[in-house]
Symmetry: C3
Subunit: 335 residues, 3 copies
């Protein structure tokens, strides 16, 4: 069932960025993720799609949440997993990142899931893998301040599933108002979401203090996009009639680096509270990529409110979406 | 075979403490562990009982021994395992423990095995999981100075299996004298063992210097218990006619904190040696939860004596007992 | 197919060192590795040979490359794997290495893959396992400056496969000139390779500065060996007409310890470059055990040249060779 649907469409080898994702690709991811969400809520929970294939989890930047999500997704697809931990690695012995990747390639890795604190590392590895005609596919699991495509795709799947659980699709977002609040400047999550949401035709509003939201974000939206991108340096105008509010994690280091005066001040101006949501659409939902600083970018009670918060749904969608991505790039490039 | 026996009886959702364990529950654990010990000594060594289920190993306090034991038990039951390592985790980014647990829940964890240096953490997570009607079951793998139920249950299985390998059961312990020696004050192993052993009708003797054995341990034994609890501040009277001697690990930090004058002094007064065991029952056996400080709480030759030491048997019993626990809470709460 | 071939021959319980490996044992490893290389390039990639068996990966000295290679090899054989990480272990609580090994034994480990920075640790554990009649087999994954047998065997498999991909065997090396260049003194890889290559009848030339190549290496070759061992304190005479050049990793600490004057000086005298290879046999190939210091012991372009460099082939051969070793010692000692 999955096979029929997907292999006829998917041709992209690597998932590095959403900048050139087509509407058809978004739709395929949404439909495939929806199928896997059904698998996950069934009895068996596993499919043999990637049996014998090796997924190398190469998290040069530590992460429990995203790594566990990809690991579980790969296990549900019956793949063999190699976990790379930079602490114990040859990198500390002076090996280059490309050499590490080529070592995993030579061991037999079919898919490499890569996170690195420096933007562009997954691309560089992908280019090298292509140059070698290796057939290996790369999945960017977050690179510096650049992109985090699997997070934006799981957000897209979460939002469209709220609007139509049986048939999540792009057109559901046409004309919807989605507000992204917080440290836009340092957020690869925001950068990836802007592409997916505007492609779907949503009206994306960014809200942050000027230090965390430079003017040049205006230019991110593509000319042919059906959606719009608007900037706000205060929260209330942004939230007006919003359908979805996506808050971002505020890294506490930002305060010491003088991007914000204090966490309390930040919370007062840009923290999401039940009260502030009153100007939104009555059915408004709140998202957060996690991990959360409760009481800073979002109040604790709001985050735990099952009527308003999609935080848990995002995590569940994450496993299904990552299964979809591993499956699509795995099957289309499979031997 | 396993299914028939166990599911008819087991109703407990979480295993957090032995304080309210019933004799019937102990018997079920013993019988199930005995069945799994047979599986482990057979050719196949694996059963498909938890296929598709996710066991999250959440060891906030590092541990190789207990984590490996639970991990192998889960693998023998064909579960998928997620290992959480606090070093790389979102906790360092300010996330709360409950948020970490809820993230694993949303990913699809069915059973969480939790160790934490603070007493009560597994209970708090269990309450939250119940409040959310999540169906997730919690297994306490050691919380602070509070409880370590799987260790006491594997000790119970080890002791009763020595007395009757074919049919380990509580009544075998009736009237047996079991001595727990060492740092009782700081031992969650001792606390859990006191409940199981007195419930089984054993006479439990605690022996330690007064600094490591406060008077209020007297009150631990329940009024309706068939067993007895007695305190000793020197070793010889405690050991007289003992059937089993359980020594505890002495953490060397205790010395610097002035609980004991010196390791040598401690060994002279409370270290278990071949010579000191002469006053015990001729068939006496020695247990230790590990890891051992050889030459401090027990002499090296005694620990390696296959006639006297049950240390290796405890480790083997550990895998079978943890399979039993994962199986019982997994099956009774299974979808 | 695999079973027929191998079990009739293999009797060695542990693989600790190549010092007493017989030609027949080398041939069996080569043939078995060749079979597994075919499995790895097929569709299924997995065999059920070690299903239900437990492989404990005990890397007391950290390593990503060798650990991942053994882990993947064990997974391809369908074994269950326990990963031991010294950072979180009982060793930090004062437990001895033998106690750690006995704990894994009692848990049910069938094969222990051991790396330790101290020479002799795998042997000591193997002796204890034999003394206990445990049936456990030990695979030395590198011990101090002593031996690294799986690396030398994968090198042997790589070299003989280049000479005859369909039938790698010892006699192919008769009269071949193989040069090992670099920090011979501190290299367990060199020590193991000297035994395998001279047993095969190759002429092994060692080349290094005198500080890294003491005279007593002359005595390593066995009297009854068909091969020869020659020492060079400069590179050009060593490389003349060489069929294979094996460079070793230069640990940068060597410089601060005054073994070499500077990395640049070392590269000028002993670094392998395209230019220097001109005196070799026209079909010369270069090997390196990795991780590499590009620009020190080998130039970057040479390492990446698919015509000259066998580095990637070594990594691929590594998985097949380790599958062969786990299989041979697993099957011959299996219940």
């Amino acid at each position: 069932m999955l096979t029929d649907m997907a292999t006829t469409i998917w041709t992209r080898r690597h998932i590095l960025s959403l900048i050139d994702f087509t509407p058809e690709e978004y739709e395929t991811v949404l439909q495939t993720a929806a199928s896997f969400l059904k698998v996950l809520s069934g009895r068996t929970k596993k499919v043999p799609a990637l049996q014998g294939r090796v997924v190398a989890n190469m998290f040069f930047e530590p992460s429990t949440r995203t790594r566990s999500s990809f690991e579980l997704a790969a296990k549900r697809l019956s793949a063999d997993i190699l976990n790379f931990s930079p602490g114990n690695s040859s990198l500390t012995k002076g090996e280059t990142i490309l050499d590490t990747a080529k070592t995993y390639l030579a061991m037999g890795a079919d898919i490499m899931v890569i996170r690195h604190k420096q933007a562009g590392v997954p691309q560089i590895i992908a280019q090298e893998m292509d140059r070698l005609n290796s057939g290996v596919t790369i999945l960017n699991a977050g690179d510096g301040l650049h992109q985090h495509p699997s997070q934006a795709l799981l957000d897209l799947f979460t939002i469209t599933s709220v609007l139509d659980p049986d048939n999540p699709r792009l057109e559901l977002l046409k004309g919807k108002k989605i507000v992204i609040v917080g440290d836009i400047l340092h957020s690869r999550v925001a950068r990836s979401n802007i592409y997916s949401l505007t492609t779907a035709g949503a009206e994306v509003h960014l809200a942050a203090p000027p230090t965390l939201l430079p003017q040049d974000f205006r230019h991110m939206v593509k000319d042919n996009s059906q959606g719009k991108l608007l900037l706000h340096w205060e929260l209330d105008s942004a939230l007006k009639d919003a359908d979805f509010v996506m808050t971002l994690r505020l890294q506490k280091e930002r305060m010491t680096a003088n991007f914000i005066p204090s966490l309390r001040e930040y919370h007062r101006l840009f923290g999401i509270t039940r009260d502030r949501l009153k100007v939104c659409h009555p059915d408004v939902k709140v998202l957060h990529p996690g991990p959360t600083n409760r009481g800073v970018e979002i109040t604790s009670d709001l985050m735990d409110d099952p009527e308003l918060s999609l935080v848990s749904k995002q995590v569940t969608s994450g496993v299904a979406t990552r299964m979809a991505l591993l499956y699509l790039i795995g099957i289309s490039n499979g031997s």
